[in-house]
């Protein structure tokens, strides 16, 4: 049976944990050094569904202005995971900028917001209420997860699949 494909982007500030988020759950053959070379690394998140297999082609974009702002990398994306660091408050504000860039290039793109490093409870700088407020304003669901422990990371991808209108 043919496999459905969707391109999704992984956006967020530098060191919010994007690459760590996908490292456990995606298949890929390219080294992380591609991120620093051309600003992107492509991986795949495969999902078996009753309606047919689904491949999410994940474009992990470098979290810097030098590369991340390239609109060409965002073209053709069906959705995006936008990540912030729960122990760095400034990354929450950056989520709004990434969401705006994404919707500028792909107006119909589905967005899911992830708050990473939820395991660092004592260092946490972003409260749930703030996260909920920002994500509501950006019109997208959010999820708190931990790349370190793996907590709810795959749920983030499944939530995006659902936001794409595809039954997981």
């Amino acid at each position: 049976m043919p496999v459905m494909q969707k391109k999704i982007c992984l956006l967020g500030d530098f060191a919010v944990g994007k690459t760590s988020l996908v490292r456990r759950f995606v298949e890929g053959r390219f080294d992380d050094r591609y991120l620093s070379t051309i600003g992107v690394k492509v991986s795949r998140f495969s999902l078996e569904r009753p309606a047919g297999d689904l491949n999410l082609i994940v474009w992990d974009l470098a979290g810097s202005d030098e590369y991340g702002a390239q609109a060409s990398y965002l073209r053709g994306a069906a959705g995006a995971l936008i990540v912030c660091d729960l122990i760095r408050r400034e990354t929450l504000a950056s989520m709004q900028e990434y969401a705006a860039r994404m919707r500028q290039v792909n107006p119909d793109a589905a967005l899911v917001f992830l708050g990473n490093k939820v395991d660092l409870v004592l260092d946490r700088a972003v409260e749930d209420a703030e996260m909920q407020s920002v994500c509501s304003a950006l019109n997208g669901p959010y999820l708190l997860c931990s790349a370190k422990t793996g907590e709810r990371v795959s749920d983030g991808f499944l939530m995006l699949v659902e936001a794409l209108g595809l039954v997981p």
Partner: protein
């Protein structure tokens, strides 16, 4: 002040007492320090023994078996870690060795490199030989003529062009990728049994294209990355409106290969433009692109280790000549039409000639027949008779000359002679005939300045009486009346060779 006083109170026994004290101190010291000294002596002895053992030679001798065993055990237990540990050292050691003793390293690795290179060259030569042989075995085809012309136009020999064409060329992989999203639409890999992550390769290739265009193309949409080369392989990228095609090839691409890719992408756009534009990742919305993609691969372009692709269109055997391109087919059609036209012209010319020949020959033959029948009556022609009658020749100097005398006659002889014929043309009329293949002046004497008697039309038969230099003495039947005179020999085709006795050599050109 008290102590000096006490000292001064014992002036009588200072030496003995101090000696006793000293002896007592020594004895006491000996008792206290003896054990320590013995220990120090023992330690010194041990140290000397150790120093003796630490000598490089003896130390290496002692450690060698230990170290060897340790390294061997480590390599056995964890080879990866060992390789990782000594890898940098080995690399640096090799660099140092190459720097310090390049020739030695060359001598050391020459057998390995030489054999490797020799094998590679042998494989290449064998492959080239196989391709050339396959080409030579093919029969002559019109395309060969075109290729020869093409080679000449390029300034190379056909053999060089054939050798260039015989160089191995193979399509390893074909990727059809959605231009905007980088999603893989179709993939063909005739060169490999199993290929993984082709969808990721499609994504990264798109990212690289975007990166190059953003970085070096300065946002100009018409400038795109169209080729990537790595080693012996290249990725030829043919962009389209909604998709682009990436062909991983090896070797020298055949002429027209890129045009074929371009045409293929354009055709795809024409047929499925709207489908490709609206593609959102659902494969059900796409046509069977892999079958279409297989049309791009010709048998001669299959990798040599590959199995035949699952295409129904590939029926030719490897090594067979490639089908002609559109331009070649057009050139062949035009060439054929030109050849056909030339053939028609030739046929027309032959027909025309054959048609006109009886007309020319009928006239000539009639004349000849008439000539033979009139030969007896020609004999008494006054002209011939006069030439044989010495009395009619007023010039006494010419009289004694024999009729067949090859003596060159001065031109003044003819001008001064009242007879239009030179005395040397004394032989009787002969049956030798010729045909004029041009309009020729008939003159009274063999001289361009002589009087013009008439014009012999092209194709007219004449009777050749004699030859003088480049002139022929002829009789021409002009509508029943014979004209006699001289005409330039170069305008006549001799039907019968003129006997030598009728030729008067000329010393003066």
């Amino acid at each position: 002040m008290t102590e000096p006083e006490s000292t001064s109170q014992l002036p009588a026994e200072p030496g003995a007492e101090s000696q006793d004290v000293q002896a007592l101190v020594d004895a006491l010291r000996d008792i206290v320090v003896r054990q320590e000294r013995q220990r120090i002596d023992a330690l010194e002895a041990s140290l000397q023994e150790l120093n003796a053992e630490i000598e490089p030679d003896s130390l290496a001798e002692k450690l060698n078996p230990v170290m060897s065993g340790l390294v061997r055990q480590t390599i056995h237990d964890s080879p990866d870690e060992m390789a990782e540990a000594i890898g940098p050292v080995m690399g640096e050691a090799i660099r140092v060795q190459i720097r310090d003793s390049r020739q030695g390293m060359v001598d050391a690795i020459a057998p390995i490199i030489g054999a490797t290179v020799q094998k590679a060259l042998s494989d290449f030569a064998h492959e080239l030989q196989r391709n050339i042989d396959a080409r030579l075995r093919t029969s002559f085809q019109p395309s060969d003529v075109l290729r020869n012309i093409q080679a000449r136009l390029r300034g190379i020999s056909p053999a060089e062009l054939a050798m260039r064409d015989a160089l191995p060329f193979a399509i390893q992989e074909l990727f059809l990728i959605h231009r905007e999203s980088g999603l893989l639409l179709a993939h063909l890999h005739p060169g490999k049994a199993q290929v993984s992550d082709s969808d990721l390769i499609g994504g990264m290739l798109t990212a690289i294209r975007d990166f190059v265009q953003d970085s070096f193309g300065q946002g100009q949409a018409d400038k795109e990355l169209d080729e990537i080369q790595y080693g012996e392989q290249r990725i030829i990228i043919q962009g389209g409106r909604y998709v682009y095609l990436a062909a991983v090839i090896e070797g020298v691409e055949t002429p027209g290969f890129r045009a074929r890719l371009r045409d293929w992408v354009n055709d795809l756009y024409v047929q499925y433009g709207s489908v490709l534009r609206d593609y959102t990742g659902d494969p059900a919305s796409l046509p069977d692109l892999e079958t279409r993609l297989a049309e791009l691969i010709r048998p001669a372009e299959l990798p040599h280790t590959a199995e035949s692709p699952s295409t129904a269109s590939d029926q030719r055997s490897p090594g067979s000549p490639r089908p002609l391109t559109r331009n070649q087919r057009l050139a062949i059609v035009l060439g054929s039409l030109g050849g056909l036209l030339g053939l028609l012209l030739c046929c027309f010319y032959i027909w025309f000639t054959i048609t006109l020949l009886p007309m020319a020959w009928s006239q000539g033959r009639a004349t000849l027949t008439q000539t033979f029948t009139q030969v007896p009556s020609v004999t008494p022609l006054p002209t011939a008779t006069q030439t044989h009658t010495p009395t009619l020749i007023p010039s006494p100097s010419l009289t004694p000359l024999p009729s067949a005398t090859p003596t060159p006659l001065p031109s003044a002889t003819f001008t001064s002679s009242p007879s239009p014929l030179p005395p040397s043309a004394t032989p009787a009329p002969v049956t030798v005939s010729a045909i004029a293949f041009g309009n020729v002046w008939l003159r009274a004497a063999p001289d361009e300045m002589a009087q013009t008697l008439a014009t012999i039309p092209q194709g007219s038969p004449v009777y050749v009486r004699s030859a003088y230099g480049n002139w022929l003495e002829v009789d021409w039947n002009n509508d029943g009346s014979y004209l006699h005179g001289w005409a330039a020999a170069e305008w006549f085709f001799m039907l019968v060779p003129l006997p030598s006795e009728y030729i008067t050599p000329t010393a003066v050109p």
